[in-house]
Symmetry: C2
Subunit: 410 residues, 2 copies
């Protein structure tokens, strides 16, 4: 049992105290150095933001809004605390969304995940994320540099050259997508190339099917996953326990009801919202658009930080109904008018031949008055007619869905 | 007029003294830490290698032999002084030939060339060399990091995204091939995208036609060239004088007769042979396979180092004649038997319907005896019959050609 540092085994009370103490400093830094936060957090007294409740009172910044925010104030929408000249690299992800990379060693905090996956100083890492335009490969480069690993920048594609290089250079590990690792290993077998030096891999960017993990393990490659984004870098990582993804030590995680900034109950599926202490690119209550949920308890490996399930889908359930966009936030607004309803889901079907929306609202005992009032709220807020039906508490699945589209078009 | 450092304006006598003082240290380091040199330089007393003449007595290491040398002792053929674990990155160029990257800042010494091309701390550099497999992009990354420039890793292809990113990020300069810069600038005009932030470029990897340089200058982009290889990094660079390529300060240049290790007369075209002080990958008398020639005098910009013409072709003129390989070194061996002939060229034609070789030998006054002796030497050394014809000194073009193939096959 070995940890990257002592932080991983901290008493969770100490971790929480540390994060909450750093929070007002972060908010003040963002307000002072990033024009976006100066506006967005106008009137917020940074010194008061020292609890989760206070944090939850701040507006979220949605990844889905970044493109417009950046277009209005190129290139970083006022979220970056330094000029481009003060950065090491700048990237462009599809959208386009631009991402800055600070000058620190391992600015994306990937060393911790690599360590948990078994990477150690002196290992050669075969890096098959793309180095072009997007930060993917560089997120892992930073972690390798911090750990003291050498890197072979394989990039994407050119499978035969990847195999040839592996056979000659004998890397200890691979980073990249799991599917490309399978392609490489299969091609090596086909070519009779010896890539048996590979004994570990840290994968990301797509699902790792248990059958693929098993098959690679049988070939001597222990595969671990991590969850990372181009804005935040590494968010959560697997350890040898392979029991959920452990949150990075330098982040604050919230799981919120999609479309809102409101934290859900522990264990409930919702949108991953992260507060990151990255000095060049402070992201405070950054709504990733990804769905996940907190796992109860702590990891058997001894790391004490909170764990999340893997990626459970996209949070953005904005749907076009009768030609009008309906956002999850509008469903949340309906509930705010009727606080006796704690959970609801808007179901859209077209069995009648045209779009129909029904709000399923969890409530032990409903009433015709409340139903009428909610139908009115729904119409006020969405400009669309819809039905309201009460269902017993616990009926709606814990899957983060606020709008469920079951229309059929065949 | 501004230099990257004071070294560039040194008295050439001081530069030569400095390089010659460092040479025995380099040779001793290579012998002690790199098994290849321990063998190749067996019996060489490092302390004596402190003159150009002593250097010229050492065997050259040919780039064209690297593939075999590396295959015999993977991955670096015993030329690398540290294990792979001690490197930052490892690359694979077509061949395959593997190249190591040390952990130093700017291990490929590109900051000097970027500076001469006008790049300064805080500039954003749009890097369109490939980051995948080969070191191209990283050679420029190192220089940018040392200068304090931020980098956008554009990579190759995806022209529209390159244009889009340039319009948003407003880079000050471009590094990449000149042809791709033209493609980007043309595409920007077609899309109506503003890429006018670009005011300089450092290009490499292919010829820069004067018309293209002119056309880009008219669009506000000052383009400079540099000569670099995946083994050595930056070798020589243009300054604002645009008068030849100035040798890097940390290299020793020799121009040798192709196929030999023998320095040519000043100004004569020959193969570029470089001695590099890279501690992780010392290359001593490394024959690049490229042809160039020394330019007389020094650059009008005030940099005092030796200058070379650009790339003048490939030095490896090995040719198959009547089914047998003939190497430039065999032609050189013929001349060694007849020292009265200073320069010669083997011309291969097939006008008679079959391969015929004629050795053109520069000599003021020839003789039938010498002719017969040289025909005999040619047959001994190549196992092929050939003619010898004397030509007046100065007849053969100064183009580095030792074997000229004028056969026609239509």
């Amino acid at each position: 049992m070995s940890f990257y540092d002592a932080l991983e085994a901290r008493d969770p009370v100490d971790r929480e105290k540390d994060l909450m103490e750093r929070l007002p400093v972060l908010v003040a830094h963002a307000q002072a150095k990033a024009s976006y936060y100066a506006t967005r957090f106008a009137g917020v007294i940074a010194g008061y933001v020292r609890t989760r409740a206070a944090l939850a009172s701040l507006p979220v910044t949605r990844k889905s809004d970044l493109q417009d925010t950046q277009a209005a104030q190129a290139p970083f929408g006022g979220l970056c605390t330094v000029s481009t000249a003060g950065l090491r690299r700048v990237f462009c992800s599809p959208g386009p969304i631009y991402e800055p990379e600070g000058r620190g060693l391992d600015p994306w905090r990937m060393a911790r995940a690599l360590y948990a996956a078994g990477f150690r100083s002196g290992d050669l890492v075969h890096n098959c994320f793309s180095y072009h335009l997007t930060p993917g490969a560089f997120i892992f480069e930073g972690g390798a540099a911090k750990l003291g690993c050498a890197v072979f920048p394989g990039g994407t594609g050119q499978t035969e050259m990847q195999v040839q290089a592996m056979a000659a250079l004998k890397p200890a590990g691979y980073v990249g997508t799991p599917s490309f690792l399978k392609i490489i290993v299969d091609k090596a077998r086909e070519l009779g190339a010896d890539v048996s030096s590979l004994n570990k891999a840290l994968v990301s960017g797509e699902a790792l099917p248990p059958s693929l993990r098993q098959s690679l393990a049988e070939q001597g490659i222990g595969v671990r996953q991590c969850y990372a984004t181009a804005d935040l870098g590494m968010i959560a990582y697997e350890s040898e326990a392979e029991a959920g993804l452990i949150l990075d030590e330098d982040l604050i995680l919230e799981i919120v009801r999609p479309g809102t900034g409101d934290p859900v109950s522990p264990g409930e599926v919702g949108e991953v919202v992260i507060t990151s202490f990255n000095p060049e690119y402070p992201l405070i209550r950054f709504a990733t658009g990804d769905l996940s949920a907190i796992l109860p308890g702590i990891s058997p490996c001894g790391r004490t930080n909170v764990r999340i399930k893997g990626w459970l889908g996209r949070a953005d359930q904005t749907t076009k109904i009768k030609g009008m966009f309906v956002h999850p936030s509008q469903v949340a607004d309906v509930l705010k008018r009727h606080p006796e309803v704690k959970k609801a889901r808007l179901v859209v079907d077209n069995e009648s031949g045209q779009d129909r929306m029904t709000l399923l609202a969890e409530l032990a005992v409903g009433s015709p008055d409340l139903e009428n009032a909610m139908v009115g709220s729904l119409r006020d807020l969405t400009k669309l007619r819809g039905e309201v039906r009460f269902v017993p508490p616990g009926t709606l699945a814990n899957d983060g869905k606020v709008i469920e589209d079951v229309r059929k078009y065949e």
